[in-house]
Symmetry: C2
Subunit: 400 residues, 2 copies
């Protein structure tokens, strides 16, 4: 029998999904599982997006341009980017199969096999997966949970820069940390990239999920860095349309966009119904986002307060996205998460979170960290956090 | 300014789309262009698929399982594969972002960088693109337009097999040739793959577009080759839902499917509305396909007859898909296609076809071939073929 490739064998399995068989087994035995493990929000999609799909009059779903419908690219600029102060024209952006494809394209466009990419750890675990798939070496600058994972001094990045470094990739606000970077931090990263003549890939899919009055500062607005910055964005994430799989890659660098078009043509076109939903979503009223933010602030405040009230637990207060990383008093967070799913129940219920070690490159780092996605209503979060706290108290591997 | 990667520079541009700027310019100047260059059919999608999307009651478009909705995978087996005699269970297949992603996954799963893949030329040009993207060397067995591009003797494949050969990839029925392979041909390829212990990747996205009474023989039904065969399929192509971007990869080899799942998880999930459309499409009545086949047979018969009546032109009679390759009496088919778009008009109209040299690996082969997609109604085809014939007569670079 034929053997599969070595790269398919070595391909990392999803760290976020690897405990799913255990939660499936728990559920099969009648246990209710509170899912704080995946960033799959329960918030309703905007009615205008859903209506656009339901009321479409297409009698034939044909290919669109590989870059997406021109009217969508125009509306993305006029109704969204230009309104929030990001100067993009339709030629500067290309619709992708969600943020995932945009990250993959940005990596292929900036890095050859054997090149190096710098990220801050903890990072979105699929950054590492896409690096693996493209033969790129991921190097990680450590950040510190105690200061809320803020951007370390540029000297820490300088230490990792080699002639093979081609780009820095940031997630702002961050998955898995929820950290929102300041304008000064983004400008400093831009200056570093300009100085070394490397790319800054800025994943801003959580841009509309910011919980401060300080406006989000996009890497697209770093003065003088127009040709170095590549934006990764997601329509489906922004409008709670995750399953639509629609995002974009954008840059003022024409070489980058010409290369993106070649990759886009190889897969023919982005999903049409997702594009139709996006056209509708661009009319989402501001009140929708106000309500979503209010809701997430309530959930975040509850979750982070509950965590910090648990003995030996620490979580910073994240200012964006819908995640937080918590340090917990155990030797091995993955073993704890497994135990919660297989052993611990309160009234036939348990809580699932994601062990965070796989978000770190440095061996041993994050071993006692978990990522918590606060994507449930507060009443549900109360039950989930209570079970989590009681589980931690009862856990045989507790360290304090 | 930062430089893009060498692989992005070397990435092949779409051969099929590279003349699009010329057709855009022609159209901008008021010329009507008959598009026989892309396989974008004008046939209406099944009403049951469109209705499934319009009548959906989802208020939140969330992620599905990375392998696709389980009910869709079940229905794919029960309502489609099992009915046409292909024994697949839900665990044997995983929904993909159309046939494109399924090809890409199949290549990554079977071949490491530096490995070799054998195809028959002329081949679907993106096979070469996906090989390039994955560092795989494409090797091509020549076929002959004069015998309708049938599968050459196995000895021709043997000549190309080396220790680095990991798979043979076929398209059946074929794009760009329209050739339908016989059961004997498919069995011979299976036997060869078993003997060398390599994979047979069978791209059957045009399975329902066959114009003979001889049933299509799927590579999934080669006895004893269960662990060597990987099926690439497309729901969106089959049901004239091209823009939905939904297909699948299938195999009885669990290692293959476990690897496919890792790749699937990296991009989170296939497009949800495409999955909803697919669930609806599976109820498409047999009459829909009967009518589609009848229509394509009319178009094919007209097109191939018209071609063979042109002096110096030869086209075989394709038995599947909606393409044919024609040999035309010119030095360089690409120059002719450009000239048609820039210079030649009849009553302000011209015809666009695809030069076929890029479907060949062997230098110089196919230089006087074009691919014609018969995806317009016969009345339109009549006008398009008339312009094509007149253009060939008038072309200064005509060789006979």
């Amino acid at each position: 029998m034929a053997n599969i490739s070595s790269r398919a064998v070595r391909m990392p399995a999803s760290a976020i999904r690897k405990l799913v068989p255990l939660s499936d087994a728990a559920k099969a035995s009648g246990v209710k599982v509170y899912h704080l493990n995946v960033g799959a929000p329960d918030i309703k999609s905007p009615a205008c997006a859903l209506d656009a799909v339901r009321s479409n009059s297409m009698d034939h779903i044909s290919y669109t341009n590989s870059a997406g419908l021109i009217e969508l690219r125009r509306d993305m600029c006029a109704k969204y980017y230009n309104k929030i102060g990001i100067d993009l024209q339709p030629k500067d952006l290309l619709m992708t199969v969600a943020g995932s494809e945009a990250v993959d394209m940005a990596l292929r466009i900036t890095c050859d096999s054997g090149d190096e990419l710098i990220v801050m750890e903890p990072y979105y675990t699929n950054y590492n997966t896409f690096c693996f798939m493209n033969g790129i070496t991921l190097k990680a600058v450590p950040t510190d949970i105690r200061d809320g994972f803020k951007v370390p001094p540029m000297s820490e990045f300088e230490k990792l820069v080699t002639p093979r470094t081609k780009a820095i990739l940031i997630s702002n606000p961050g998955n898995p940390t929820g950290t929102l970077y300041t304008k000064e931090e983004v400008l400093a990263l831009g200056e570093l990239c300009l100085r070394h003549d490397i790319f800054l890939i800025s994943d801003e899919v959580y841009r509309e999920f910011c919980y401060t009055d300080q406006p989000h500062f996009s890497a697209m607005n770093i003065p003088g860095a127009e040709r170095n910055v590549i934006l990764v964005d997601s329509v489906s994430k922004r409008y709670n349309l995750c399953g639509c799989r629609l995002g974009c890659i954008a840059s003022k660098n024409e070489e980058v966009m010409a290369a993106a078009m070649k990759y886009a043509q190889a897969r023919l076109c982005p999903p049409v119904y997702g594009q139709v939903a996006a056209l509708g979503a661009l009319d989402t009223p501001a009140e929708y986002f106000d309500a979503v933010k209010e809701e997430y602030i309530r959930r975040r405040d509850f979750t982070v307060k509950a965590l910090n009230e648990m003995p030996g637990v620490f979580s910073p207060l994240p200012m964006g996205a819908f995640y937080t990383i918590a340090e917990i008093p155990v030797d091995d967070a993955e073993a704890f998460c497994r135990w919660m799913l297989t052993e611990f129940r309160i009234d036939g219920e348990t809580t699932m979170v994601t062990p965070a070690a796989s978000f770190y490159k440095t061996p041993g780092k994050g071993i006692n960290h978990v990522r918590i996605a606060y994507v449930l209503e507060v009443e549900e979060l109360k039950k989930a956090m209570n079970i989590f706290a009681k589980g931690l108290e009862a856990y045989p591997g507790r360290t304090v």
